[in-house]
């Protein structure tokens, strides 16, 4: 690992991508993620890569389709409204089984919303913002160091399963600065074999990358193949962290910026004698439903905390499956929940549901 460097989240993500072997970036400006393309425009030419400021988000994601099809490790980034524009291309990449990293530094919505931080793109990221039966692998880091590490992980998974992946950050993570250490450059990136890539046939076989399957049987078989792949990702690539869950009676569920705030909540609650823990999804899809389902056998209640009006909480409720109460607390519009507000929400839950803490 390198010496620590003080960097903005957006810059750290961009530098991590370069060290992970990303050599193609296409994007279109939007706050609060502009430091990613800015950084890429400076750094990519230094390492022999290509940076394109596209004419639109739609163009950028389709350039990614092309670069991925040619076998390049590639990336685009945007923020909420821009990610909405990319959805058609993301669905096409999933249908064509093309790897690539999409970074969403989420801002408040719907519509143009605000440039302040939010977590209200969870549905779009994890439930398929585009059309068709497809999944994105979605990472929700909560520190800049984890964001750096997840860039490497995301590219690995993307190549291994030939599927687009997303890092879902927010305006806080994109704009704040923390010291980060970079792992050594990904030496394996050049060893990833892509026998499907359209690198020029020469005398070899014709290769075709597309997502069209007009025969019903053929598309069904393709969808079943994708489905099996998604099952394997669920089995092998789910990431989460348990915080003080050994004796917890109340379980917080939160990701990204909100989960770091929940760590302060745990500390505060425990100093008052409330046994609070947290399950923190690191991959948002696949969602860590097994550990949450297991925890539902032991804890008295869950509280999902998000910078939205309640999106991930639906996955928590699916995993808990009615066994114990699942409460929700959220702020929107760029407001960041404070530890005191979350503690108060926990106490309300305890009172309303008549559970012990």
């Amino acid at each position: 690992m390198s010496q620590p460097i003080l960097m903005k989240g957006n810059e750290a993500i961009a530098e991590a991508a370069i060290r992970a072997g990303c050599r193609f970036f296409a994007g279109y400006p939007i706050t609060p993620q502009n430091e990613i393309p800015e950084y890429m425009s400076r750094r990519l030419p230094e390492v022999g890569g290509a940076f394109v400021q596209a004419e639109s988000e739609v163009a950028a994601i389709n350039m990614l389709y092309g670069a991925a099809g040619a076998g390049a490790r590639c990336m685009t980034s945007s923020s909420s409204p821009g990610i909405s524009l990319k959805q058609e291309g993301i669905s096409y990449m999933a249908g064509s089984e093309l790897p690539g990293l999409i970074v969403n530094i989420v801002r408040g919505g719907p519509g143009l919303g605000t440039i302040q931080p939010a977590q209200s793109d969870y549905f779009q990221a994890t439930k398929g913002g585009g059309h068709g039966d497809y999944r994105l692998v979605v990472y929700g880091p909560d520190t800049l160091q984890e964001a750096v590490d997840m860039v490497f992980e995301a590219f690995r998974v993307s190549d291994a399963y030939r599927n687009p992946v997303m890092i879902l950050g927010d305006g806080v993570l994109g704009q704040m600065m923390e010291p980060v250490r970079f792992p050594p450059e990904d030496a394996d990136v050049h060893k990833v074999e892509k026998p499907w890539a359209t690198t020029g046939a020469g005398d070899g076989d014709t290769r075709l990358i597309c997502s069209i399957h007009l025969e019903a049987e053929e598309l069904n078989a393709h969808n079943m193949h994708l489905h099996e792949k998604y099952q394997a990702i669920k089995e092998n690539e789910t990431l989460y962290e348990e915080v003080e869950m050994e004796d917890a009676q109340l379980c917080l569920v939160a990701y990204g910026t909100t989960s770091r705030i929940c760590r302060a909540v745990i500390e505060q609650c425990r100093s008052e004698g409330m046994k609070v823990g947290m399950i923190r999804p690191i991959t948002l899809w696949p969602f860590p439903d097994k550990p949450i389902s297991e925890a539902a056998k032991k804890v008295d209640a869950f509280l999902a905390v998000e910078m939205s009006l309640g999106q991930m909480v639906e996955d928590v409720r699916l995993a808990v499956n009615g066994r114990v109460p699942v409460g929700f607390f959220g702020r929107t519009g760029g407001l960041i929940p404070t530890p005191d507000e979350i503690v108060a929400a926990l106490k309300r839950l305890v009172e309303e549901e008549g559970v012990t803490s």
């Binding site: 003080l6 706050t31 605000t114 923390e178 770091r260 760590r263």
Partner: protein, 190 residues
């Protein structure tokens, strides 16, 4: 003292974000503390207001925003009005002498120090643009949380080439102000 919060406020172009980055780098990279630096963006920075915040801690920093700053620096009247009031009980407000009249009433436990950052930068150093570094020096000297040596090391790596010597002098002037104390007052401002 596990967690210490700084807020540096003024107007865009005064270099307060750079000052915040230098402070964060000194503590986080050169002294190995946990640090988070954030800054205003979007609607908050419209009309030219600028705010940098730094949290320094010996533990991981969960809540990334400053809520009750231990130190607030204000280089404009607007910064005094908008940002000084959140200072923690027993905290410190450092304000440029030319804008201090705009301070709101503060708790009695809050210490207010008025120093001539803008005038010193303009008249003694010949460049008002280094008022940020003069102020950084003063804050570092007044708070004793991050060492002047670490800040100077970070400063050398962060200021534009060709301005190193000027910025070092500005930083030294600020430190000297903190030590001299001849312009200080400790009474609450009403």
């Amino acid at each position: 003292m596990s967690k210490f919060e700084y807020r540096l406020a003024g107007s865009g172009g005064q270099g307060l974000i750079l000052a915040g980055i230098i402070l964060a780098e000194a503590a986080g990279v050169h002294e190995g503390a946990y640090v988070v630096q954030t800054q205003s963006y979007g609607p908050e920075s419209r009309g030219g207001a600028s705010r940098a915040e730094v949290i320094v801690s010996d533990q991981t920093i969960d809540y990334p925003k400053v809520t009750r700053p231990d130190v607030v620096l204000c280089l404009t009247a607007e910064a005094c009005r908008r940002y000084a009031g959140d200072v923690a009980s027993g905290g410190l407000v450092v304000v440029d002498e030319e804008v201090g009249k705009a301070l709101p009433s503060l708790e009695e436990s809050v210490k207010v120090i008025r120093l001539p950052f803008l005038r010193t930068a303009r008249e003694e150093l010949g460049r008002e643009i280094v008022a940020n570094i003069v102020a950084l020096g003063a804050i570092v000297g007044l708070t004793d949380r991050v060492s002047p040596e670490a800040v100077e090391k970070a400063l050398l790596g962060r200021v534009p080439k060709g301005t190193t010597e000027l910025n070092q002098r500005a930083f030294a002037h600020g430190l000297q102000m903190a030590r001299g104390g001849d312009c200080c007052e400790s009474a609450p401002v009403t």
